[in-house]
């Protein structure tokens, strides 16, 4: 089972009206989206290190490009 991140808000015995419940849901989703928007793992930058790069780029404006060729250019030089 892969690791997951799951957050639960438990409000105990509090009974919310439908409209209130929706507002809570919207507020929680908004908070999650805000934090997600700030995430940048820099994962695409591994393109600089093609030996570790498994990704495939789709350039929406320029067509598909598969970044396996630069591996030669970045490979350590012998000696």
């Amino acid at each position: 089972m892969p690791e997951t991140n799951r957050f639960v808000v438990h409000l105990g015995e509090l009974k919310l009206r439908d409209r209130q419940e929706r507002r809570f849901e919207e507020a929680i989703q908004s908070a999650v989206l805000t934090e997600l928007a700030r995430i940048d793992f820099q994962g695409d930058v591994v393109a600089r290190f093609p030996r570790e790069w498994l990704g495939i780029w789709i350039d929406v404006q320029g067509g598909l490009r598969i970044d396996d060729k630069p591996a030669q250019a970045f490979a350590p030089r012998p000696g």
């Binding site: 989206l33 928007a37 793992f41 994962g43 695409d44 929406v60 404006q61 970044d67 060729k69």
Partner: protein, 138 residues
């Protein structure tokens, strides 16, 4: 009573635009983490995301497939996933059995087109809209 039309297929590598759904976060190793459930790419989310690097480098979005209006549409199908899975070769089939939970699979253009092998290719795709200074040389 008229028959209900099928909803449009979803492109799993769409641009970050209002109305799109956030489906993926790009991880440090360059592969992608599927969100358990698509989240709406709201105006607030997009505004916050654009304060950093291009959202398409850090996330993937789903939006209705525009078919022939997309430059990747070739001969009645999406050319992207064909090429991705073609590049992966047998590895795509080997990984297909373990497809992870995905919030858009039932409507996914790629999955509809080639089946579970699409999921293996999907995990390696990052969308980018233009060349950047830190992009690998061609």
């Amino acid at each position: 009573m008229p028959e209900a039309e099928d909803p449009p297929r979803l492109c799993p590598s769409a641009l970050a635009r209002p109305g799109a759904a956030l489906i993926v976060v790009v991880q440090a190793d360059g592969t992608v983490a599927l969100l358990g459930r698509p989240l709406p790419a709201t105006a607030a989310f997009l505004a916050e995301a654009r304060r950093g690097r291009e959202p398409e480098r850090r996330f993937r979005f789903a939006a209705p497939c525009v078919e022939a209006e997309c430059r990747q549409w070739t001969g009645g199908r999406c050319g992207v996933i064909d090429r991705v899975v073609g590049a992966l070769g047998p590895e795509a089939d080997a990984g297909a059995e373990g497809a992870r939970p995905c919030g858009i699979r039932r409507r996914c253009r790629w999955h509809a087109q080639i089946g579970p092998a699409a999921c293996e290719g999907c995990r390696l795709v990052i969308t980018e809209t233009r060349a950047g200074p830190d992009r690998a040389p061609a």
